[in-house]
Amino acid sequence: MNQQLDEQNRLKHFLTVEGLSRTLLTEVLDTAERFSPVGERAVKNVPLLRGKTVVNLFFEPSTRTRTTFELAAKRLSADIINLNIAASATSKGESLTDTLRTLEAMQCDMFVVRHQNSGAAAFIANQVAPHISVINAGDGRYQHPTQAMLDMFTIRRVKRHFDGLVVAIVGDITHSRVARSEIQALSTLGVAEVRVVGPKTLIPNRIEALGAQVFTDIETGIAGADVVIMLRLQQERMNSPLLPSAQEYFQSYGLTEQRLKLADKDAIVMHPGPINRGIEIDSAVADGPQSVILHQVVHGIAVRMAVMSLVIGVHAAGTN
């Protein structure tokens, strides 16, 4: 995705994990390390983005992701505007372009975009004026790159390195932008094996081409895994032609304490949230000693601060 890199291969937008080198992904993680201590200080912000305006452009509603980005922007001393454009049937392409023009006129520096269609973030990045950076906060089923990076950050913090790791992603892979971003990030960062686990109806055609092994049985799927990432099962998938019921899903694919024993004894359990207790994961596991779910939330702020600084920095440097 050269669209997000400038001539010197630096990130000027953050749209997708695809096409980014191991070096670049590592730079994002290292930069996030530098932002991590800021949250523990008395004064929880640094003046880096002071005077910059960040717009949260959310076409799809989300409280947690939006709040994390808002917090990250504030910790960078940026001004933040929240625009929640209702995902109504009338939100067509025309209003999208018009909305962008209006925002550009208000001297904004960055758009954080969440949209229900795959490729929307790239589309917006193509449309905006050259001085504006775009960060993808999730577009359709395509990518959720900051989520992937905060998960990689969490894994690196606990496991120290990526070599030799076996990572299992369990759940609705077909509809998951998190899964796609993570499979690619994990492969680029050099893990030993990426597995996707779920019923055949929720595993997309030819996912092996992205570098993942397919398992339709959770017991074999998480056997020996070092990291187990549970994905949220959305309401509309239960009782649909894709799945008979939430109960059957939990019976077949729910992560219980019993099943977790099949993974490596030091395995960590992750979940991008929000959690559906009793549907994809047992409360005992979600709150248990192997769960790093709450850490993920905290790391999300540092990672987003890192991504926003890197990307605005490149725009700043580029215009001089």
């Binding site: 269609n117 795959s118 490729g119 589309f123 796609r180 997309p204 055609n205 996912i207 081409a209």
Partner: protein
């Protein structure tokens, strides 16, 4: 008017001609290919040395957008674009608004086409009323007003019983049915071919199974009802095998493929380029290879431009929200020539697929330069380079993946019924 078209390389597959020679036209008819007829004095001679002269192209399914979608294009703009791209006859699809399911809409379009004085417009009438797939259209009335065939365009008929009756009725009217093999349910949510690319991009996919199921269903009903059927815009290797098998078993079906499916594959969608959002979807490399071989071996008869001009907004959105289709007239000749250049098939086969074959499918009396056939002629300069731009495209639609590219090959002369409709030769 006596016209002499001199010195071009004349390719006329129907008559096995491929040589540099002259073509003589008197009134609306071709009178001779070869030496001048005795006593023939031309009112005009056009020197076409270095160029290629063929029977005029016939398009099997173009969206002329009028009535109802004039903001995208009009009969005037598109029939002129067709003519300047070498098409002497264009079949207009019935998915207008209102739909071509009654004679008055036919009359309206006829009038517009007549006023445009460009490519001949032929009518594909609707198979069902409003294309809704519930009630039959008045096919006899449509036939009487001049429709060359009936079709439900790419509006899938979900009710198999309705489809069966529609085909039976069309058969009893003596009409050819143009079938678009689409399974409504497997097609509905998809925006591109289901495969490794759609999985990577997170775009809902249309599995190959969709076309296979629909072709199987349609072939069964075609056989049972005895209707003359033409399969439109096949996209998968498996579908071609089914058609081949049916023909070998004696079923006289014909088929065409869209030029885009011979040129591009799903990977070309790249990073969500809406210029490659098409129906039928672009399938995989293996399918493209089979489609090209099928043209070469005449297992598929014709190549269709599948011309779909759009307004700028239709493509200026994220991929899944964009409208499918490309404007194909202007770039048709250079794109076709590029396929010949790549060795997909030879030039003769290509020309036959866009002139003789569509002519035969429609049961017309042209598609060839035989003595006394209509003087529908296309002349192009294969080496003329030009850059595709909003200005150089004559179609009202600028939605082409070739935008800003330099292409090789351009139509310089189009003659329709003996009248020069387009001429850029001095």
């Amino acid at each position: 008017m006596h016209l002499c078209l001199a010195g071009a390389r004349v390719i006329d597959p129907a008559n096995g001609t491929d040589k540099c020679t002259n073509v003589y036209i008197k009134g609306t008819r071709v009178v001779r290919v070869g030496c001048a007829p005795k006593g023939f004095i031309p009112d005009q001679t056009i020197d076409l040395k270095g160029q290629i002269l063929t029977p005029g192209f016939i398009e099997l399914g173009a969206h002329l957008r009028e009535p109802g979608f004039e903001y995208k294009a009009t009969i005037a703009s598109e029939s002129k674009a067709a003519a300047s791209s070498g098409f002497t006859s264009v079949c207009c699809t019935p998915d207008t608004m209102p739909v071509i399911d009654n004679a008055s809409v036919v009359e309206h379009i006829k009038q517009r086409a007549h006023n445009a004085r460009a490519a001949r417009v032929l009518f594909l009438g609707a198979l069902t009323h409003g294309l809704q797939g519930d009630v039959l259209a008045e096919m006899r009335a449509l036939k009487d007003s001049g429709c060359v065939a009936v079709t439900n365009a790419d509006y899938a008929i979900r009710d198999t019983a309705v489809l069966r009756h529609a085909l039976a009725y069309a058969a009893s009217c003596g009409l050819t049915v143009f079938l678009h093999p689409i399974d409504y349910w497997l097609n509905r949510d998809g925006r591109m071919h289901e495969g490794a690319v759609s999985t990577r991009l997170g775009i809902p996919g249309i599995p190959e199974a969709e076309e296979i199921i629909a072709v199987n269903r349609d072939l069964t009903l075609v056989e049972e009802t005895g209707v003359r059927a033409h399969f439109c815009r096949l996209s998968s290797a498996r579908a071609i095998s089914l058609i081949k098998r049916a023909r070998r078993a004696g079923l006289p079906v014909t088929a065409d493929v869209a030029l885009s499916n011979l040129l591009f594959i799903d990977q070309d969608v790249g990073s969500f380029d809406p210029n490659y959002h098409l129906r039928p979807p672009l399938r995989e490399g293996r399918d493209r290879t089979h489609l090209r071989t099928a043209i070469k071996k005449r297992d598929i008869d014709a190549i269709c431009g599948n011309h779909e001009p759009h307004d700028a907004d239709a493509k200026a959105t994220p991929f899944s929200l964009s409208a499918p289709g490309v404007t194909s007239f202007d770039t048709f000749v250079p794109a076709l020539l590029s396929l010949v250049e790549q060795g997909a098939f030879d030039l003769n086969t290509a020309i036959a697929a866009v002139s003789q074959a569509p002519n035969d499918i429609l049961g017309l009396d042209g598609g060839a330069l035989t003595c006394d056939s209509p003087a529908d002629i296309c002349v192009f300069d294969p080496s003329q380079k030009w850059t595709v731009s909003k200005e150089s495209l004559s179609s009202a639609g600028k939605n082409t993946p070739f935008l800003n590219q330099t292409m090789s090959g351009r139509v310089t002369l189009t003659v329709i019924a003996g009248r020069i409709v387009h001429n850029t030769n001095d």
